[in-house]
Symmetry: C2
Subunit: 411 residues, 2 copies
Amino acid sequence: MSDTLHPSGVLSGMRVIEAAAFVAAPLGGMTLAQMGADVIRIDTLGGGLDYRRWPVTANNTSLFWCGLNKSKRSVALDLGKPEGREMAMALITAPGKDAGILLTNFPARGWLDHDKLKEQREDLIQLTVQGDRHGGSAVDYTINSRVGIPYITGDERGASANEAVNHVLPAWDLVTGQMAAVGLLAAERHRFRTGQGQHVKLPLEDVALAAVSHLGLIAEAQLGQQRERHGNELFGAFGRDFTTSDGERVIVVGLTLKQWQAICEVMGLREAVQALGERLGLDLNLEGDRFKARKELGVMVAGWMARHTFAQAAAALTKQGACWGKYQTLTQLVTQDEACSPANPMFRTIDQPGVGAHLAAGLPLNFSGAARIPAAAAPVLGQHTGEVLSELLGVTQAQYGSMCDRGVVAR
Amino acid sequence: MSDTLHPSGVLSGMRVIEAAAFVAAPLGGMTLAQMGADVIRIDTLGGGLDYRRWPVTANNTSLFWCGLNKSKRSVALDLGKPEGREMAMALITAPGKDAGILLTNFPARGWLDHDKLKEQREDLIQLTVQGDRHGGSAVDYTINSRVGIPYITGDERGASANEAVNHVLPAWDLVTGQMAAVGLLAAERHRFRTGQGQHVKLPLEDVALAAVSHLGLIAEAQLGQQRERHGNELFGAFGRDFTTSDGERVIVVGLTLKQWQAICEVMGLREAVQALGERLGLDLNLEGDRFKARKELGVMVAGWMARHTFAQAAAALTKQGACWGKYQTLTQLVTQDEACSPANPMFRTIDQPGVGAHLAAGLPLNFSGAARIPAAAAPVLGQHTGEVLSELLGVTQAQYGSMCDRGVVAR
């Protein structure tokens, strides 16, 4: 058995076959793998659509692919050949009480046709991440533009006020990835109780539409309240970026009354805020009124920040229990932030083939009832082909050699 | 039994007590509720920290709170009184094979102390969403600044190039909410097999750090490759916003080769792209080389867009199966987009008390083995207090009346 398998994980014993590319579905699979599930990724020989996705190293190894496939096993088959596709279908439908689970973002046809797979395993659970609900193509960025976020992001004052600001973080992919894990766990729970498998569909478009509904943005728009672009201001309360006397940038948030009072306490603003509230006819103990007075309050906080170094501000805010954060570049994050270092037990330095030693994250969920599974490298493409074919399908060494000869697997 | 309970849902029979505020934990609870779990939210009389969170209606009903608490039941108790806290602990630990599950983002002390709750129910599952792993305070926006995203978002050319651009979408909260559902389902699976409950901790900070690790951003920074700010350009491939001849804005993405070829086909760019590749010494069939040539390719695509109306561009791109999207405001989304209407079975027009009729989303996951649960309104605060106390704890009408008299519940 491979050293990527963890008998002590909260999901140990569960086996998932993943046939997927890009962020959402691979992230869903990795989430399960990092809880101890045996997640076996099937790729075509030479790698799939995301095998060279940027960022890449100087030798063209994808940091993206490695990052999203940690703790999995890798099987590589020539999926252009009927035998390769048959082998993939056999892996998906192989016996095992806690197996027969397929995670994919490829169309449910050919070797991923749900009905054909069900002929081989009646209780199969298949989860398909789709672009839209009709199965059409869409990616995170084409959906983000649809749901209105780029028009309310970014500077309200500058030249860009009429422009759209795309997000860099593929937020919809990240949410969808976790929802894929939710869907599989819920379907597996249902199967455990009823014996029935099913095909679960998860459209990326619907994930984004649901989120803007849940956050109140759809209702707000339907009620005719047009959300404006508010730059870096936190909508509906107090929070934005400020610059310290030595040029560092911090965000300070007064969302709850307690958080707001901590800011006032640190900065000695109680009386000035009281006077401002009276002048404006607002009750600045209410978050919405703080938002209405955000410009005036911002001037006060900015003034305090401009008179304090970062070290002074950080010490005072932390001592008072205020809610704040430093703006950091990614380089500062990896070189200066203790939370992004092996001091944080979620992180571990791994040695990724083709990349070398670097810090990698395990699972953010910390289960008191199961040992933390250390972050592990992504497999080399096809690394576990022979091992998995033997374990799941009983393929002998002789049969495997013959498959090599026919080019179905790589030697 | 309340009409918010769905015996046909994939999680029907599961019961979760939620004591939570803001986005992540309530979203995790709602995800379970929208799969048929009985999610009972406990609030203090008058509502908790997020009960007035913006956006709000003219009468100060929170669209945010309503949006994140759909399909739940609501119990309101005076948590300032010992009797109210005891009642809350009794609800959390009430009997039931598929109950004894607590979701919270409040500190695990007082009536939420895990050890004290375990005295009443040994197999309790508790999931606590935390700011950081030490239990410190943090919100989405103070974490986003830490992980480097604001410094790589927004216009690379304009005056804002040295500024930080906060996100508007609370992406880390949304991801954390789904991970909370993952954690509870995984822990419940574990309990079903072993009989053991546990305390699961989920730090928002770790969710964000793990995501930037998984996307390759931490490895990239550690390898000394500094991610630049690329404005609206999709990193590592081809994709950005363009303006049509009639002033509409669209995003066009050529991430995969197939997507890229569709763009070239629609716009008749094959030969020009071939010539450009030769001139630049790049193979524009490779996604990374398309990113290197993004400015030149962008000029070509922009030229085609400027010669076509939105209707022409949309028809041609759709016909060819290209990956594209329209930029819309939230108002355009709710008034013009078929996917954000009752034509999409995920949506339903609900009548939310205090708000009125508006469109609301159910679950993006579509289970073939269970009926889709229609989106349902959020409860009125305390709406189910009597019903739940009776069902779970056997509180009689006379006892309830006496609790009203003592102010533990509202009349």
